[in-house]
Point group: C2
Amino acid sequence: MMKRKGILVVVSGFSGAGKGTLMKQLVRTYDTYALSVSMTTRPPRPGETDGREYFFVSREAFEQKIRENGLIEYARYCGNYYGTPREYVERQLLAGKDVILEIEIQGAQKVKEMFPSALLLFVTPPGIKELRRRLSGRGTETEDVIKERLCRAQAEAEGIEAYDYLVINDDLDTCVEQMHGLIQNAHCAPGRNQELIEVLRTQLKEMCAHADGTAQGQS
Amino acid sequence: MMKRKGILVVVSGFSGAGKGTLMKQLVRTYDTYALSVSMTTRPPRPGETDGREYFFVSREAFEQKIRENGLIEYARYCGNYYGTPREYVERQLLAGKDVILEIEIQGAQKVKEMFPSALLLFVTPPGIKELRRRLSGRGTETEDVIKERLCRAQAEAEGIEAYDYLVINDDLDTCVEQMHGLIQNAHCAPGRNQELIEVLRTQLKEMCAHADGTAQGQS
């Protein structure tokens, strides 16, 4: 059995598309996944725990991490840093886990440049009215924040074509299964089976040479 | 509900990989598929029926079809023509069917050039020993033909990287499900959801403009 290397999966999508819930259920349902936890300098919201939603660090600690090349990507958003610690991701990929990063659209592009074989998924609710409903329904945000997110979503929507797949989050269970299918199918790409392909080629070469002993001398 | 356009699926693979059986079961199990029947000038084998395995035509009729641009691709192999009639494929795609073509590796490349969004699948047995066993087990071929096919497989194996996915046909049912998943997932590519994406963008634009009436004049 050949060792399977993990796939780096980037999940983006409009704020309110339900990415967080989706990924939690995905990771809970299948043990092939590892969820990368981002690092940020923004303060924790009520109910958030260090190391679960984010690693909450000081600006100094974050900038030190940047200098050490310890982040796969990072960005500033609303005056705070957000980034993906490199070490956890690389360790999990080597262990054969499919590693999921939830990052925004600019970060996704940076990851794709550094890991061209990364799989990029964009999650959207079935319609924008539903998106607005979900943003309001959360109940933790002011009307101004909701408006800001809608306008941010407008900008993000311009980048959907850079993603491999568009995933519509209508029903949670259906969507989790679809994401699982998309990620597992990506393991079938020839580029992820180079070892198997080489074995096939070697075997065919031997068998073909054996089938006709004179073939080697005919070229 | 937006009208879904069909996907053109090309299935290639080593002779003896079980493509024919796979595709028959796929088409029988799911009614979203239409199986394209190739046209050939080679004579029918025992048990083959015109319009089922192939459309068996004369060389003159085939060459007439070429002149009319009535074939998506065609090739000569062992002195016979093989080709894919265009009309059936285009009609089924418009009707929303995912159309499956079983063609060899050169034909697959021609289809990809003409239909860049075509999905290319390469089917292989789990190992070459199994391939040889299946070729022998068929019982209808001489040792010479088996050798020829193995050497042909050697050449074909060089082209696997041009395919989108490598499908290992170990267990028939598993493999059918995997092919089905790969094809249906391809419907999630942004390029196949341009209409939905445009609707999202329009809605977001309206909602964002509505959310802040002054935003239009700020740029």
